[in-house]
């Protein structure tokens, strides 16, 4: 076989593999969209729904609709959610957004101290941060409960069953992000900040006016990654948030799947409704994320 024939064969095989793999990967998405439009609450199993219905979508938006209770008599009843699931989506966005912003502020300033400043215990603190963060947040729930219960007694808006309380718990997870941002800061030569100091800027100003604007890419990456992880966080949110209208998306979505009766249709509608915008935003920002993740390298 000639070189160009070989090349063609290799290309064809590669394309075929890619397409098959992609089909396999994307099947779940097709299924869930189809399930959201399918009448009834069956587990996702078809590409095209047999009976199309918008009921699940109405439910998710909080629009009341009539559901047939007894097909024989045609008796219907009004279905209307106490909390429109859309609300849960909004809750999640609120919590994740605020928490991500807080994370950037906290881990960014801490990373600055580790990257640019000298102080006692710097090495120990840094290493300890990494090691201590390994303890799974799930198991700290008892302690979280105790803390939030205590706080809630004195400051009503920060206790259990509040978003502020949940955000505060999330803000403890700064360790990995500190390492990411610190790593990025260390690739920036300090000469620009030093030059600014000579020109009369204070330490803080070199941080806010020079380093931060240059580091926007890593902040974008940290924001996106933390945002997505908070969107998906389940155990802590399910324990801290107790009332239905406070739930985040994760808790709310799971609530459709009771042990006895799994409401797949409603779940599917909520999943599509909330999943699509997040995915789209992520894809728009993928340049940043990929850049942030692929900046590792091989040593020559």
């Amino acid at each position: 076989m000639t070189a160009s024939q070989k090349l063609l064969v290799r290309k064809t095989i590669a394309h075929a593999f890619m397409i098959c793999f992609l089909i396999l990967i994307l099947v779940p998405f097709v299924m869930v969209v189809s399930a959201s439009f399918r009448q009834g609450n069956f587990a996702p199993s078809r590409f095209i729904p047999d009976k199309v219905s918008l009921d699940h979508w109405r439910y998710v938006f909080g629009i009341p609709y009539q559901e047939v209770v007894n097909p024989a008599t045609g008796e219907t009843r009004l279905i209307k959610p106490t909390t429109p699931p859309l609300f849960w989506f909004w809750n999640s966005i609120k919590v994740s957004f605020i928490a991500s912003t807080g994370i950037i502020l906290l881990s960014g300033s801490a990373a600055y101290a580790f990257a640019r400043l000298q102080f006692r215990f710097r090495a120990i603190t840094l290493n300890s941060l990494l090691i201590l963060q390994m303890f799974p947040m799930v198991l700290s729930l008892v302690a979280f409960y105790v803390i939030l219960d205590f706080l809630g007694q004195y400051f009503q808006w920060t206790g259990l069953n509040t978003h502020a309380g949940l955000i505060m718990v999330y803000l403890g997870g700064i360790s990995n992000y500190i390492w990411m941002i610190k790593g990025y800061f260390e690739t920036i030569p300090p000469s620009m900040e030093e030059s600014a100091r000579i020109d009369g800027a204070s330490q803080f100003q070199t941080f806010t006016r020079i380093l931060i604007p240059i580091s926007l890419p890593i902040f974008a990456v940290v924001f996106i990654l933390s945002f997505i992880s908070y969107m998906s966080e389940y155990p802590v949110a399910s324990v801290v948030l107790q009332s239905g209208d406070n739930w985040t998306l994760a808790v709310g979505a799971n609530s459709f799947l009771y042990e006895q009766e799994k409401l797949w249709g409603r779940f599917a509608a909520l999943a599509v409704l909330s999943g699509v915008p997040i995915t789209v935003v992520f894809l728009m920002c993928q340049r940043f994320v990929i850049g942030g993740l692929t900046s590792g390298g091989v040593k020559e």
């Binding site: 290799r10 992609l22 996702p44 199993s45 300033s109 090495a123 201590l132 198991l139 779940f267 995915t279």
Partner: protein
């Protein structure tokens, strides 16, 4: 800062005030240690932000405060709990248990009283008692607070009753028994004791009467309690967490107690714990290792294909391939739960139509494990793919031209050049992926809830990870063993902490002094 408002100082004051308030309130409520801790934090914060020598710590303070509160404190608390006996039978602190004993009363004598409850509004009521045998003897209380359905906290002084002249009128609206039930006032009422002018105690007996009570237990100076009904004595056994009588029988409610290494020993020796613990540990390690290997293999394969310059639509392929990473995991996991549904899901539907058989994704432990690994690979390969892409792009392309001239093929290139070059910097990533999957609570909880249940393993499930098992021990109804859970959690922490430490050493990220 030159001139202008001393913004920093003002901010410090504004933030310190609520902190001091919190400390004060905590002290008032009896939590002296908590009050002290808060005070220290506030002072530390003020020092850091006001004094010049604390400058560098200003950047660290907010982050470390959050970290300390929500990471360090829970760990310390967990470790502490692991050395205590703290479960559903030993839920109360020793003081609370004592308080319960103190509150135990029994009725003596034959005097009983009819009663009426008068509502004054705002959760305030007046109790009126009338001797059943002598209606001339009647008593009333001053307004007391009764919150609907509320269990009384701590020990409260008996409410003093005053003698009333017969026929005296009392303010407030009379409540019928039915109303009292509806308002859920029996619970708080039952928890209170009332003292007649002659110091006899009376309390609610049943629903319709009050009877004179006496405390069951007398507190002796040596720490033991004497039962006033039958004269027996019990002593607190701090080892077993119970009060015991002279024969060693457990009496009354249990209390939390320091138990030393007992929880840890249970893990090793108690067959109900040790067997599932060991199985779950093995599964956790295997699951993490397999996940890392598979996501890396798939991710690397895709990265290599995508780096091939001759291939068209590389950008499009890459965007589509990242999708599993872009969609919030919680939604994807639940979608897969539906797809793998044993009776109706798409996977079994496809298998049935194409091959004529189905797999037991939910009821068979191995089916469940296979499902979990498959879903985890779906979720995890994009991250690996992106990391590998970065690695591949940093290899100078000239090397492959040289190897092509020397007679290499793509697969030889991969195994003898690419992989050996790329693995060393990848090891920290692989180790942290291992650690992540070791504690991958969400995946198991949402996908299988740990199921199917392990036979003879108590609340353990066949697909539970260590972290799920621990969670169930602590929080599921049939368990609530915080002490044991904390011990397992501590062990878990030691394992992943060790992994993290090893990772630091390997990646050379260890920060030198």
């Amino acid at each position: 800062m030159n001139g202008g408002l001393p913004i920093r100082q003002i901010l410090v004051v504004l933030v310190a005030i609520p902190g001091l308030y919190l400390s004060f309130e905590a002290y008032q409520a009896g939590n002296a240690w908590v009050a002290l801790a808060i005070l220290i934090i506030v002072c530390l914060g003020a020092f850091v932000f006001l004094s010049e020598s604390g400058y560098t710590y200003r950047y660290l303070f907010p982050g470390l405060l959050g970290f300390g509160l929500f990471v360090i404190f829970p760990i310390a608390y967990m470790v502490f709990l692991s050395f205590t006996k703290y479960n559903s039978q030993h839920l109360l602190s020793f003081d609370r248990a004592l308080a319960l004993f103190r509150q135990e009363t029994f009725s003596v004598g034959k005097v009983s009283y009819r009663y009426r409850l008068f509502a004054l509004g705002n959760d305030r009521y007046i109790l009126y008692l009338e001797d059943e045998n002598d209606s001339a003897k009647c008593f009333g209380s001053s307004p007391i607070e009764l919150k609907a359905g509320e269990q009384p906290k701590g020990e409260q002084e008996p409410v003093k009753l005053e003698a009333l002249r017969p026929g005296a009128t009392i303010k407030g609206t009379i409540l019928e028994v039915g109303q009292i039930t509806r308002e859920k006032l029996f619970i708080p009422m039952r928890g209170r004791q009332f003292a007649l002018p002659d110091d006899t105690l009376v309390g609610l007996e049943g629903l319709k009467r009050f009877a004179s009570l006496q405390r069951v237990w007398t507190f002796n100076p040596d720490g033991s309690l004497t039962n006033n009904k039958d004269g027996t004595t019990i002593r607190p056994d701090f080892k077993r967490g119970y009060f015991v009588d002279n024969q060693g029988q457990k009496i009354g409610v249990g209390f939390r107690t320091f138990s030393g290494l007992e929880n840890y020993l249970r893990i090793l020796s108690d067959p109900r714990i040790q067997s599932p613990f060991f199985k779950i540990f093995v599964w956790t390690v295997c699951f993490s290792a397999i996940s890392v290997v598979l996501t890396f293999a798939v991710g690397m394969l895709l990265a290599v294909i995508l780096e091939w310059k001759e291939l068209n639509f590389r950008g499009g392929y890459r965007t589509l391939l990242i999708l599993p990473y872009a969609v919030p995991a919680v939604l994807s996991i639940l979608i897969f739960k539906g797809l793998f549904n044993q009776e109706f899901g798409a996977v079994n539907g496809f298998l049935r139509a194409a091959f004529g058989f189905t797999l037991e994704w939910e009821t068979n432990p191995w089916g469940a494990r296979l499902m979990i690994v498959l879903v985890n690979v779906w979720l995890g390969y994009p991250y690996m793919m992106l990391i590998c892409t970065g690695m591949l792009q940093s290899i100078p392309s000239g090397i492959y031209e040289a190897s092509a001239i020397e007679g290499s093929t793509p697969s030889i290139d991969f195994f003898r050049i690419t992989l050996p070059l790329v693995l060393p910097p990848l090891i920290p990533i692989l180790v942290s992926s291992f650690a992540f999957n070791f504690n991958n609570f969400n995946l198991i909880y949402l996908l299988t809830a740990g199921g199917p249940k392990m036979v003879g393993g108590g609340i353990a499930g066949e697909t539970d990870l260590l972290v799920n098992y621990t969670f169930n021990i602590a929080f599921r109804d049939s368990g609530t063993d915080y002490g044991l859970a904390s011990a397992i959690a501590t062990l878990l922490f030691l394992i992943v902490g060790f992994l993290a430490w090893m990772n630091l050493k390997l990646s050379g990220k260890n920060v030198k002094m």
